[in-house]
Symmetry: C3
Subunit: 351 residues, 3 copies
């Protein structure tokens, strides 16, 4: 048992209708609820599930007064549900604390208090790992890196040399931070490598998704702002600066030297060209291709990305185009008939 309905209600300051001693053993959305689950009704479209749900209890809005199980009335069921999960959810089998004997710790490495370093992890010379940070097995951290406190670096992550990561960050399995930017000078029929000697700076409270790649800058810094969350299989090009509290969804590619303001959202699969600026609070729709700078609060879609309303109009027009082409042909016929008729009349009148 995780908690009773009474415990839950106390945490969220909700009002219980039904047996408050009911035990809760899990959490679920309302359509997938199983016996013992706490669930919630936030979407009125799912109200019908209330009458025969196997759930142990449901968080509901005050207007709901009855279900096939105990209910807890709160102003915002979804918010309350999240608060409960964050509070009561058992940790997912954390790594054993301590420094695994097989871990390779370089020279002059500073490990903070209660740092966990997993089996076969590698931390390069001079690197600094903050208090309570957890490094999973098979992680590679190069020399002269700095990882803040309370961060989690999951397995098989590679953090190249001279990279800085903030506090309370989560770097998911397989991510690569600080790989060389993609830079070449074409000379004598060959692509000559431009040394990528810059770095990557990741702020606090950043989450980087699995197998995502963030390139180091050519000379300066690639920056990911505090509070930004990046999903899986995302590519961030060298010298790009991403603001604070941005959301970058899966499979996105952001070319080098792009600047994203704070609170920008880039939806799944979109591409952002380089050397441009996306204004704060802009939203880039899924599968778009941004090719020009955007002012703040832009909402764009399509490729090349334009104002979303304009793109919808163009797409709607495109659906009507096959028919319109037929109409043009028929109008042309009708004009020919009119011209013929008028010409015949002209001739007639001139006799």
């Amino acid at each position: 048992m995780i908690a009773t309905v009474a415990d839950i209600a106390a945490l969220v300051q909700g009002r219980v209708i039904g047996d408050e001693t009911t035990p809760i053993t899990g959490f679920s959305g309302i359509r997938e609820a199983q016996p013992g689950d706490l669930t919630f009704l936030a979407d009125s479209r799912y109200e019908r599930f209330l009458q025969n749900t196997p759930a142990a209890a449901v968080l509901v809005r005050p207007e709901i007064s009855q279900a096939s199980c105990p209910i807890i009335q709160v102003d915002n069921p979804y918010d309350a549900f999240l608060r409960v999960v964050m509070q009561f959810c058992p940790s997912l089998s954390p790594l054993s604390p301590g420094i695994h004997p097989s871990a390779i710790i370089g020279n002059n490495v500073k490990l903070g208090d209660n740092v966990t370093v997993g089996a076969h992890a590698y931390i390069g010379d001079n690197s600094v790992i903050g208090d309570r940070t957890v490094i999973y097995p098979n992680v590679f951290i190069g020399a002269n890196c700095n990882v803040g406190t309370n961060s989690i670096i999951y397995s098989n992550v590679s953090i190249r040399e001279h990279v800085e990561i903030g506090a309370r960050c989560i770097i998911h399995c397989g991510a690569v931070i600080g790989s060389d930017g993609f830079g070449f000078a074409f000379r004598n029929g060959k692509h000559e490598k431009i040394p990528q000697v810059g770095t990557v700076i990741i702020g606090d409270d950043v989450e980087i998704g699995a197998n995502t790649t963030i390139d180091r800058a050519t000379f300066g810094k690639t920056v990911i702002g505090t509070g930004t969350k990046i999903d899986n299989l995302v590519q961030i090009g060298h010298n790009t600066v991403i603001g604070k509290h941005c959301i970058v969804c899966g499979n996105v590619g952001i070319s080098g030297s792009a600047i994203l303001g704070d609170y920008v959202t880039v939806a799944a699969g979109a591409g952002v060209a380089g050397h441009l600026e996306v204004g704060a609070q802009s939203t880039i729709a899924a599968l778009s291709g941004v090719t020009k700078s955007l002012p703040p609060k832009s909402i764009v879609s399509g490729f090349p990305a334009v104002d979303h309303e304009m793109e919808k109009r163009m797409k709607a027009s495109l659906r009507r185009l096959p028919e319109a082409l037929k109409t043009i042909r028929s109008l042309e016929k009708r004009i020919v008939e009119l011209e013929t008729l008028l010409h015949a009349r002209e001739t007639e009148n001139h006799r």
Copy 2:
């Protein structure tokens, strides 16, 4: 030598014309065939290669009776060729059997019979590995996982805690199974992490491509059905359910809470939005973007994805649009002329 032409013919019950003692030392498509290769003719467009192929022998249909080398007549040359390759191909340097001394095996881990665990692999507490499964070096398997029999987990794979993988599965290098879903609640100007405490269930006979990422569910399960094959660099979002015997090609992104029925094909680079259902036996074309639920046996393309025939019509119309715009302008001119003429006549007639 792998086999003689006679051996091959016996396996596929084919009829030999030519020297059946000819040794076979390799396999190839007919255009790339080298001396010693067994090859096949399945596509009549390549018939011309028969007369001067360096191959040692060719599998052909019964209508073909002659080539520059021995032939083996069978009803289906391609099928026969596959059967031969699957039978005679030497194993690709398998890992040495046994548990490598450098592998880290957690507490209460159950390893089945003849399990191979490579150097520096890590298996977390309570995990179960089925008979004859092979785990390559540098693999991370978290706690409380269950991997079925006869599976192969290639190098640098990360399988997070509480994940279940079936029998006869192949997980390719660098794949990540069970990373956190991408879930946040926006509160007080920040994206607060929603704990992702669900799991991933992968059925039997599933193949997951290199560097592909499959996120764990928020509360329930992300499911990959039996017999489904997923290519490289694919992202599967949390809570998605993929049916049986599906094909998901490279660079595809499937957002969270999508449901794909059995025998769905998603071609390369396509995107599928979340919270929708793709009916069984549907085909999603390359680079499409599916934004709505689809009935079974749908064939869609484009973005937003529509019936493929409709998309082809729209694309064909778009190619004709530049010309059509000119036509509209010229029609407008002709209408003005007609209106002018008629107006002049009207005036005339009224004098």
Copy 3:
């Protein structure tokens, strides 16, 4: 200090105006220059930065004779800057030389002179590693591989068995070379795996990006030509042949059995279908989808990819389409009026 202005000028054969003893401690683009940095002016749009740059010195063209800091006049400032960086840039914390005791070296492995093998790296039986090649921690190299001289294999890379990599190659973190091609035969309602027993051949001077995946051929070879540079998160399908000195940008997907000629550029996010040929020196624009073979020197964009000029025309037309649909409707009205008028006249005339 890295060098003085005099040292720099000597290297690039430039003419100094100003204090040639000025020390240089870093490198930067002109807009981001900090005190101590050497920078350059290659783009006349940035000339205004010359008058108040904090940089220590600027490489300029001979027409520029004055700035707020010492200048070095050269014919090509950008080229000269690159030459300086390549010459003077400190190495980025190289790995300690030697074979780490925790590395697993298989039977009959041949390590060249001055090879570096990092902690927990694994090199399979019979593999050959060329002189001065550096293998980072947690790398997996399978059996029967051959890596040339002076190459760098970064951390967490997987190189499957029977793969060949040339000299002076750089394989970035997490890349996978030689994973199984995606090949299945559909029989009896299931996708049966076609063994992928071919190989991958990577030429000299190739760079493969982070988390990029290159599949082995079914029977023959997947080939990456000498001098080709591939960015991050790229998928190269089995049996594909990429020519020399190609550029493949991030998030690109190239399906199996494609052939790219020499000097082909594939921009970010594009897709190339299989079983086709892209002629040498072609350029494929970002986010395109190439579905047909292309002659040499093609410049294509869109999906399906067509000549770039044609695609621009179609896109420009599409922007005008909403207005054009309205025009068609109004033309139709005007034609109806003309027809009505003429018909009335006809009737009148016949009385």
